[in-house]
Symmetry: C2
Amino acid sequence: MPDFAPLPEPPYYAVIFASQASDDSKGYQEMAALMAELAAKQDGYIGVDSCRDADGFGITVSYWQDEAAIAAWRMDITHQVAQRQGKARWYRHYTLRVARVERGYDGPEGR
Amino acid sequence: MPDFAPLPEPPYYAVIFASQASDDSKGYQEMAALMAELAAKQDGYIGVDSCRDADGFGITVSYWQDEAAIAAWRMDITHQVAQRQGKARWYRHYTLRVARVERGYDGPEGR
């Protein structure tokens, strides 16, 4: 079982990224691993949940303490290189939303 | 490529459900399909993005116009049966968060 992103006391922020992979995946895995490593070192980073299915559709939700942390990560120079590669090659289509988490819980109880 | 959930003008709400499937998947696919069909008929439903990877980790994000729509779907009697089955059998662990979407966009431009 993967580590689920933690559930701190709200409010905090979620970046919800849904994407359809293109046929060109060269270098993608390495860059995704590097981005996960760098994001985790950012101030205000809380955690991430991520999955991609057999058809290449994926959802990554990263959690951040505040909007300033999201803005700083967006402007990170290495992350900007990754964003450009993603737009040019790796993603056929994507949506990105920023949302304020208002409540959260986990389950099932006792397991 | 799947249909991505639409991007209406914010604010609206996201229910972010991350889950690790258990080894017992009997009846799960049928129930998931039924829940997707029923949710789409609810007042205030906007759309859903969903994926599950080869290790059984999945993320489903459903979008709703307001908190009242989320509450009504949560209390739907057929949905409650599904929730109980999910807790008892289908999910080893899950997290659920409700978040207010503040902005969103899609890309890459021109594709």
